[in-house]
């Protein structure tokens, strides 16, 4: 099993207008037959959330990859410990960075939606919003967003109660593709109600990527996320990561 991975982010129109950086970030790696990937969405209200999302996604993927040999034999409890340890380290490193920069950890507020996926099974891990989808031959496994009562409120890895909001959910069957997305991409990647992928978007994308090399596919995905038609849908940053199995 070899994963081919395509990930792109596009700045939202409101971020372009305000001269803000793209606050989404993604990172991915392969460890043998395992896919390791994370998408982070920096809080709009946090000053340096683009730094937070970039650091969190990269550090988390790096730390999980370094312990990648544990994945094949891990059970649910092992993964809970592994992910909790890795996210704790990532968060502590970020807190240290905040201390040096003389700012608060909350300035780096970002959500996390990640996956470790092997040939037969895997897990999503998730703090806050964004969505993870594993597509099986029959059906899908979802990791859904967690919001407060209101759609514009969510939970961040930088929050003091992040552990209470960390959700680790098993993917119990082989997947032919795995998707991670920030909430800006959800309105057009997911169908109404977020219980299924929106086929008129996802099918042409996966069909194209199946025949593209990673560089071309990634560029085309980036251009698609940056399509002016998305500006009538959301003013937010949009990130989509698609991993295709073979």
């Amino acid at each position: 099993m070899a994963w081919r991975i395509f990930a792109a982010s596009a700045k939202g129109s409101s971020h372009v207008a305000a001269g803000l950086p793209c606050q989404d970030a993604s990172a991915f790696a392969r460890h043998g037959e395992w896919l390791i990937a994370v998408v982070c969405d920096g809080a709009g209200s946090a000053a340096s959330s683009h730094v937070g999302s970039s650091r969190i996604s990269h550090a988390t993927v790096q730390a999980l990859t370094a312990r990648g040999e544990l994945l094949a034999s891990a059970d649910h409890a092992d993964i809970e410990k592994l992910v909790t340890d890795v996210l704790t380290e990532t968060r502590e490193a970020l807190a240290e960075h905040a201390r040096i920069a003389r700012t608060e950890l909350s300035a780096y507020a970002a959500t996390v939606v990640g996956v470790v996926m092997g040939p037969e099974h895997g897990w999503f891990f998730h703090v806050g919003d964004g969505i993870g989808v594993a597509r099986h031959d029959d059906g899908i496994t979802l990791s859904l967003p967690e919001n407060g009562e209101y759609a514009n409120e969510t939970f961040f890895l930088t929050g003091h109660d992040w552990l209470a909001h960390l959700r680790i959910s098993p993917i119990e069957k082989p997947a032919r593709s795995v998707l991670l997305m920030s909430d800006g991409a959800m309105p057009f990647v997911m169908a109404k109600g977020n219980q299924a992928l929106f086929a008129p978007f996802v099918e042409p994308v996966e069909r194209f990527l199946a025949q593209a090399d990673e560089a071309t596919g990634t560029q085309a995905l980036a251009a698609t996320l940056d399509d002016p038609r998305t500006h009538g849908i959301t003013s937010d940053d949009k990130t989509l990561l698609i991993a295709l199995g073979d």
């Binding site: 209101y150 759609a151 514009n152 309105p187 042409p204 560029q219 251009a223 698609t224 003013s235």
Partner: protein, 227 residues
């Protein structure tokens, strides 16, 4: 080199997110003449501005409550999406039953939220926009207390606006969790500027996402500084 987009991709909005806004408007006798005319013009401006923003037009839900007459508070029209909103032409007469109007608004907000929950529609925190040019003439204290508690428990965001010399910011302040400091005073009859600000704020809020705080536009174009 620009990479073309992936061919045949549908890009449509599948979200069903709403931002409820209730306008609680003082239509007592003292609003007669220029004030009510300017208020009506402001409402028309709000309608146009919201309809001009493709995202806000779909997401903002409006309800207008007028209060005046013989201590009467009433819903004008029904909840509607901004794209279907037609600004009403309000008339000024009668008294100022602010307490009753706010109680009606809070009830409507909870009923609307219940409908969203039932249909699985996500929503942002409702706004209660309370405008008055006078002193309440009804037993307003319990309504004010309920409103204040609703804001403290995060059920609603309350924006009291005091209009003209006859208004009473300290009383209006009792309706929101920040007290008198939370009351904005309209400079003269700058209703157009006020509703332009409201429209811009709704555009920001309706498109907001992850983040506890939304950066609202400045209010200097229409409010006076209260010491």
């Amino acid at each position: 080199m620009t990479q073309p987009v992936i061919p045949d991709v549908a890009l449509v909005d599948n979200t069903e997110q709403r931002t409820p806004l209730v306008l609680v408007l003082d239509c007592s006798g003292s609003m007669g003449g220029a004030p009510i005319n300017q208020l009506n013009e402001g409402l028309q401006l709000l309608e146009r501005e919201l309809k001009d923003d493709v995202i806000a037009a779909k997401r903002v839900r409006l309800l207008v409550i007028r209060y005046g007459g013989l201590d009467t508070a009433e819903v004008v029209g029904d909840w509607c999406d901004a794209m279907d909103f037609t600004a009403p032409t309000l008339e000024a007469n009668g008294t100022t039953p602010t307490g009753q109007a706010v109680e009606l608004a809070l009830g409507e907000i909870e009923a609307e939220k219940a409908r969203y929950k039932q249909s699985g529609i996500a929503y942002t925190r409702p706004w209660l926009f309370l405008m008055s040019d006078g002193v309440p003439t009804d037993a307003w204290e319990s309504g004010a207390q309920r409103c204040c508690e609703a804001e403290r428990s995060h059920k609603v965001a309350v924006f009291p606006i005091a209009v003209g010399e006859g208004s009473h910011p300290d009383t209006l302040g009792a309706f929101c969790s920040r007290g008198t400091a939370g009351v904005k005073r309209l400079a003269g009859l700058q209703f157009n500027e006020l509703f332009l600000w409201l429209s811009t704020s709704m555009q920001v809020v309706s498109q907001s996402k992850t983040g506890d705080q939304v950066q609202l536009p400045a209010t200097d174009s229409w409010s006076t500084v209260t010491a």
